[in-house]
Every structure is written in C-alpha cells, then in structure tokens.
C-alpha cells in the first residue's frame, strides 16, 4: 500500500507541475503584444519587448534552459562578480552554517540555564522578548557599522536571527523535562553535569531540534536578503545581479535554487530530529 501511495502522490505532483508550467506558458503567450512597425535602424537599438511586444516574463522553457546552463556548469569563476551557482550557494551555505552553529553554541547553553533556573528565566525574559521580534535585516546597518566587515556582518545577522528560536525552544524543552526523570537521576545521586547530558539533553533534544529547524529556515531566508543588500558573493547576490540586469529568467532560476537548498536544509534537520525523537 505504502509504495503505491507514494507513486500516486508523485504522479499527482507531476500533473500539478505540468498544469502549472502550461498555465505559465499560456500566460506568457497571452501577454505577447503585436509586433511594432519601426524604422529598422531604430529597431536595432531596441529590445524585444519594445520591437516584438514580447512579455517581460520568460517562458518556462527559457527558464529551464537557464537552469540547465547553471546545473551543467555550476563552478565556473569568471571574475569576482560572476561565479557559478555552485560557488554562490557554497558561499551562502558557509555563512548560514557558520552563523547557525555559532547561534547553537550560544543558544543551547543559555537555553539550558533559562530552562533550569526560573530566576534566569525571569531576568532574561525582557531581553529575549524585545530582541526576538526585531527583523533580522534591521541588524544589518548596525552590524556593518560595528563589525566593519560585510561577510562577518552577514554571519552576525544569521547568528542573531537564528539564536532566538533555538534559545526559546531549548529553554522550553529543558523546563518541560518530566520531573520524574530528574527524580530518577536524583535518587541515583547523578551529578549535575551528567544529569544535564544524560537526562535533560536527550529529553529536551526533540524540542531543541524543532527550534533548530525553525532557525535554519529563518537563516536561509535571511541570508538571501542580507546578500542582496551587502552583495559580493552568495545566492542573494546572484539574484540581485540578475535583477540588476532585469533578467526575470535569472531571478526565477535563483528562486528555484534557493527553494531547493532551503528544502535540503530542512530535510537534513528533519532527519536529525528523527534521530533524537522518542515516543512516550
């Protein structure tokens, strides 16, 4: 039953995709205006939108060709402002993972502290409540100004926006560890550190992983925006560069790659959550 169902679901997905692409193609055709009569000398200086009334939106096949071009040559390096999609994605992933891991190193211990100590929870709560809703990109100018390095600033922004979900989830996970498990550890005279690692951490791990999954999603959202702002390298810069050329084809292929990588990141963390999940 199970495999048959996934085959059916897969087929349905394909049908939906086909319908979507067909609708897109028809939309582009519908936007095609009439060709304009022009002096050939003048027309030579104009773009297809002006001369042939072509739609600004590319056809799916054009985007497909563009995607194929990127997939078949992902690592070319034609100067500091023109690198293959693979290199750009690697830059973005490096920033995201660095910021994210730094955030985890900070958020999980502090989350433990908050989860275990009501005093810390009360003391840190106002800060968390104020910092949490700040849009990550609002940090960007501040970061650029104080850190004075756009790459580090981007990492900092990733850090600052991925820290909160992990912190809050860790604190929540730790605070809601069942009392009886802690009591088991107490009656066995287990030390604080061993309790933290052997009881609290595995007990809170699923909640912590949920926080990490939220964080990596936000981090990936933010890196694209941050790189569009700061530029230089990365998938965000790639999209900006295509936009600078008003190339909708390029922008759409950027979107596809961003979506794919975001999905892979989420899948990786979903797999990690499965490893630490437990049923009661």
């Amino acid at each position: 039953m199970q495999p048959r169902m996934s085959v059916k679901a897969g087929m349905l997905s394909l049908v939906l995709l086909t319908l979507f692409l067909a609708a897109w193609h028809l939309l582009v055709l519908a936007q095609q205006g009439p060709a304009v009569e022009m002096d050939p000398e003048y027309a030579a200086l104009m773009g297809k939108q002006a001369t042939e009334g072509a739609s600004a939106l590319p056809k799916p096949a054009e985007v497909g060709a563009e995607l194929w071009r990127h997939v078949t040559d992902p690592f070319y390096d034609a100067g500091p402002n023109d690198k293959g999609i693979g290199i750009q994605l690697a830059y973005s992933l490096f920033r995201v993972l660095t910021g994210f891991l730094l955030a985890a190193c900070v958020a999980i211990p502090i989350g433990f502290l908050i989860g275990m100590s009501p005093i810390f929870r009360k003391a840190l709560d106002p800060f968390i409540q104020i910092m949490k809703p700040v849009s990550p990109l609002a940090w960007m100018p501040l970061a650029l100004y104080t850190i004075k390095d756009s790459n580090l600033s981007a990492i900092f922004v990733i850090f600052i926006c991925s820290v909160w979900p992990m912190l809050i989830n860790t604190a929540f996970g730790v605070a809601s560890v069942r009392k009886e498990w802690l009591n088991v550890a107490r009656t066995l005279e287990v030390g604080a550190l061993r309790t933290a690692f052997r009881v609290v951490l595995p007990a809170a791990a699923p909640t912590i992983l949920t926080g990490m999954r939220i964080s990596i999603g936000i981090a990936w959202l933010v890196i694209v925006a941050a790189e569009m702002l700061v530029g230089g390298t990365g998938i965000g810069y790639f999209v900006w560069n295509e936009w600078n050329n008003l190339s909708i084809t390029g922008v759409i292929s950027g979107i596809v790659f961003i979506g794919l990588v975001g999905m892979l990141l989420d899948m990786a963390l979903a797999r990690a959550s499965k490893l630490v999940a437990y049923a009661e």
Binding site: R178, E180, W181, N183, V184, A185, R186, T187, L188, E189, V190, R194, R198, V199, P202, A203, A205, V276, Y278, A279, E280
Partner: protein, 335 residues
Amino acid sequence: MTAPLAKTPKRGEPIGDLMSPAPDTRKKIIQVEGLERRFATPDGKSNTQVFGDVWFSIHEGEFVCLIGHSGCGKTTLLNILAGLDAPTAGGVIVDGKEISGPSLDRSVVFQSHALMPWLSAIKNIAFAVESRWPQWSRKQVLDHCQKYIDLVHLTGSESKKPVQLSGGMKQRVGIARAFSIEPKILLMDEPFSALDALTRGSLQEELLSICAETHQTCFMITHDIDEAILLADKIVLMTNGPEARVCEIVENTLPRERTRQDAYTHPNYYPMRNHLMEFLVSRSKRFSQELSSGSYDPRYPPVVRPTAGPRDAGASKAGEPQPAQDGAKYGDPLR
C-alpha cells in the same frame, strides 16, 4: 503509661505462636521520627499541615506497606524518605544516620515507572547501574543488568524502547532498575496502581518472590488492601489528611509463605481484611475522635494483630491495653 515490650513474629514463624511473640532483634533500617510536612496555601498567606507527628520504623528485611486515602500525604511521605522532599519538622534516620537528600541507599519505584523513553530497557537499568558503580566496565554493567532483566522475566526484551513495552513490562523494568543498585531499602509509590488487575496480580507475586529471594527491605505505598495483605509484614495505617496521623500499625498475621491463590483461604485473612477495610471505610475519617479520647501516643501508635481468635480481632482501640490473645499490643518502643 507503661508499654509492654513489643514482640513481633519472626519471619516464617508459625502464626500459632501469637501468645508469646519473640522480641524483634533485627536491625532497624529506617526510623521515622516526628515527621511533619506543611504546604503553603494557594494564597501563600498561611500553610496547612498535610501530616504530622509521624513515627514508625522499618526493620531489615521487612516489607512495610502504608495505606491511606488519597490526600493523606502518602506520596509526600515517600518522597521525604527518598530524599526528594524535605520535612517541615522531624527527621528520617536510615541505618543510624539522618538523611539529608537522595541516596543510592534508597531506590525508588515510581508510580509511573519513570523510564527514560529514549533508552532501551537494558539501557534504563544500565543508567542506574553505572551511577551506582561508575568504575565498572561496560561488560560488568551489562552482565549485571542482564541479571535483573532475567529476574523480572524480561529476557528477550532488553533492547526494546519503553514505548514498545506493555504497562506491566515497563513497571518490571522500573522494578529491575530499583533492585539493580542493591539498595538498603526499596521505596515503592503505588507501583501497580496503573496496571490492569491481571498484570497487577502477577507482578505482585513476582515482587513477593524476589523479595523472598533477596531479603530486600521494602516500603510500599498502596491503597489496595489485598496487595497490602499479600505483600506486607507490617501495614501502617494513615488517617485522612489534612493533619493526617499514623492511626495504628497492623502486623500481618498471615504466614510469610502466602501466595495470591491461597492467602484468602487462611483463617486470618478475613480478620485482616475486615480490620483494614473498616479502617479505610470509617475509622480513617473519625480518627480525630479517637485521638481526643486520650491515650493515643503518636510515638507509639498501637500495634494490632488481627486474627481469627475468640474475639474478632481488629476491634481494639488505640491506647487501650489489649490482652495479647486479642492480637493487640502497644507498638514497638522506638528507642
């Protein structure tokens, strides 16, 4: 007030020997002395005494049950014995030393089994064993765990996670874990209350046989009279809270070699049962009247031995000296 010397039957002593019980010379493992616990009222302005002036003791190798209605602070009392909670007044002496917190001397079987769901059955036990003997090798630990897995008849389910185990199997792991660290005393908080009757019965029997085999000192909280009669050497009756007290201590007059199948055929079974039932049904509520009637001394709660004697046992009143053949006598002097 003059208290006659307390005598309790030795383990395995024929119950016919009620007329002249030998003095109990066994070592006292636990002495509960004047224990009181108060909780702040929800408004935080005052506090309520859950129980107070609780005195009793447990001898080495003895199985003691505590019976009382919910709300009398049974679990609180057990938590204090375990060191998980602290008394407002009084103290607990274990093996001659006043306790100040949890210890590997006293292991606990929790009502909800309290297994860590991310660990397999054997790993749950290993967690305890490693805590008890941190210097042991991995193999030593696993061999030791296996012994207790076998003891509770879980052989073959070692690597199952708690979620894959039935309720009874889970509690078996809980019991194996508690036994595995070879504590001086095993504390059990209604360990079988969440189980269905059939499972409960078989677990009770297993526990009985393990205790017989290991001579483990046990203290168990229950509200099940049959369970108490089957397992306990001595039953501590607590009145209803708040301000609960130890009403009396009932010595089990059934032979130690009882089983679930034959216990109820013994002539002392119904006297025991009726005595306990009467306590739960009516006396536990109006104990305060008995208290005010005079001669109750909380340090020496009356000890009762209900038997199928000439006068139906169990009718004795606290503080009232009873002839020995009535099965009633004053409790053990605590010191």
